[in-house]
Amino acid sequence: MESRDSVIAALQSLPAQVREVDFRQRGYHLEVWLEPERLRPFAELLRGGDFYLSFVSGLHVKPALEVSYQFANHAFACRILARVIVDAEHSLPTISDIFQGADWHERETKDFFGVVFRGHPNLKPLLLAEDMEDLKPLLKKDERLKDRAAVTRAEADVAEKTPAPAGGEEGA
């Protein structure tokens, strides 16, 4: 994969829902929605395309917790934000055997949100103390928990079809 277009084509054939977004507004180029069972093929695809994992993070919204993965590439400007909704058991497959850096990021997400990453070799508390396993500090209390729609950008300003300018020139 040498360009953003080839990345989009490869992701669409996974299949995954890919959308090009305005970098100046969002700070990333592609937004991807994935089914949990596509997460590992997705990671393998990006691993083969020489991407690196920037971070794994969670977002607690109604109806279900969402885990996001951000990837970027050393060779060309293509920052990808992939969102996956956890399954009924609050779990997702691990990608720490594909991207070894995910090991700690997944442990952190387990600490803060209680997401269980299936197949992770060592899912022990990383930043929290060992006896704080049930704390899950970033889960929202019911009164502060919002719907997914409440934290979704209004569609009007999403330039879905406008081709984004080449990576090098677009600053903040």
């Binding site: 690196y52 950008r153 209004a154 903040a172």
Partner: protein
């Protein structure tokens, strides 16, 4: 990818930290040793964990500005920059041109003092006491300059959404120009004292095997990545602020060892000086703070803002729900991913080489723990 160390009779466990001079912070590394060789180093994090991401959810977004400075105490202004950047991006606010220049000038001064501290303590970790005395003399000059304009010496809270809190004056510019001249005059000395020192070179040359593929697997960024020959710097790859205006190089080395990371950082000092010179020459007139409403509600949605910290890629990912309080703030810190390579890279290394390796990664522990 080991879990619990296997017990073997000739192996013993050595506990390094959480209070150890060469971890530069409260980091603990459990080392499974065989003689003087490290067979399995496992970092233990969380001693300085303050849950900054939770604090961000419980205060209005300007209230998080002081927190931004307290994660990486050596790059406070760069953390400031990333934070105001993500809020501006989400709210659709633009800082004034003069403010963007001031941000770059102060950020680069901040980067310089971080690199100077690193240069001193890396060599100190390897047993040479003298260079830190010289680098701290240089660093002191930067802290004095920044103190005048920001009011503090370490945990700066200088940037605001739309600009900066105070303008820089002629005295600042004059002192910074003097500093640039001074720093350039010092580099030949460091070259002789450290870079050309045979003992230093024996301690770092060929130590650590960093490769571009390893960097991708772990998300390693910053000077250690550039030491493997990959010219990846967020200031160039995803330009932010006014960095596209300046002519500077992204230094790379191909060694992939601690020496390569060292050489990249030393060469970056000169590049930061170049950016400073150009920014001072072209500093536009005008307001240093844009007119922004007192209370800004962040529109629903999310935004990412990535900046290059002295240690690598720093990313703020902010999700907002239309209120004045961030709904979720994720902070991706470079040292977190950089440290996670330790078990793989340092396996089979001499204990003294592990210190060289950790010194080359330039870890800041409060940033990892957040």
């Amino acid at each position: 990818m080991s879990t619990t160390p296997e017990f073997r009779e000739h192996r013993y466990v050595l506990n390094m930290g959480p209070q150890h001079p060469s971890t530069h912070g409260v980091l603990r590394v459990i080392l499974e040793m065989e003689g003087e060789y490290v067979m399995d180093p496992q970092p233990v994090l969380g001693y300085g964990h303050r849950m900054h991401e939770k604090m961000a959810e419980s205060r209005s977004w300007p209230g998080f500005l002081p927190n931004a400075a307290r994660m990486d105490y050596l790059a406070s202004l760069i953390y400031n920059h990333g934070y105001v950047g993500v809020v501006e991006r989400l709210a659709g606010i633009e800082a004034t041109p003069r403010a963007e220049y001031i941000r770059v000038i102060t950020s680069e001064l901040n980067r310089l003092q971080s690199h100077l501290l690193w240069l001193g303590v890396l060599v100190l970790d390897l047993g040479a006491f003298t260079p830190i005395m010289y680098t701290f003399e240089d660093r002191e000059k930067i802290l004095d300059i920044l103190e005048d304009v920001t009011g503090s010496r370490l945990t700066y809270c200088y940037m605001r959404v739309g600009g900066v809190v105070r303008d820089i004056d002629d005295k600042f510019i004059e002192r910074t120009r003097e500093y640039i001249k001074w720093q350039r005059s010092r580099m030949p000395m460091y070259d002789k004292l450290v870079t050309g020192n045979i003992i230093f070179r024996k301690r770092v040359e060929g130590i650590g095997e960093f490769t571009p593929d390893l960097a991708r697997r772990y998300g390693l960024t910053g000077p250690v990545l550039r030491g493997t020959g990959v010219a990846y710097d967020i200031r160039r790859a995803e330009p932010y602020s006014v960095y596209p205006d300046f002519d500077f190089e992204i230094p790379t080395e191909t060694g992939g060892d601690c020496l390569a990371a060292y050489l990249v950082r030393v060469r970056e000092i000169e590049q930061s000086l170049r950016i400073l010179e150009q920014a001072l020459d072209r500093l536009p007139e005008g307001p240093f703070l844009a007119k922004v409403p007192k209370k800004i509600k962040l529109p629903a949605g999310d935004a990412t803002y990535a900046v290059e910290s002295p240690r690598g890629e720093l990313v703020y990912h902010l999700t907002a729900d239309g209120s004045e309080v961030p709904y979720r703030m994720k902070i991706r810190v470079p040292s977190f991913s950089n440290l996670s390579i330790l078990p793989e890279v340092c396996r089979g290394m001499l204990l003294s080489d592990l210190c060289a390796c950790m010194g080359s990664l330039d870890l800041v522990i409060p940033e990892i723990d957040r």
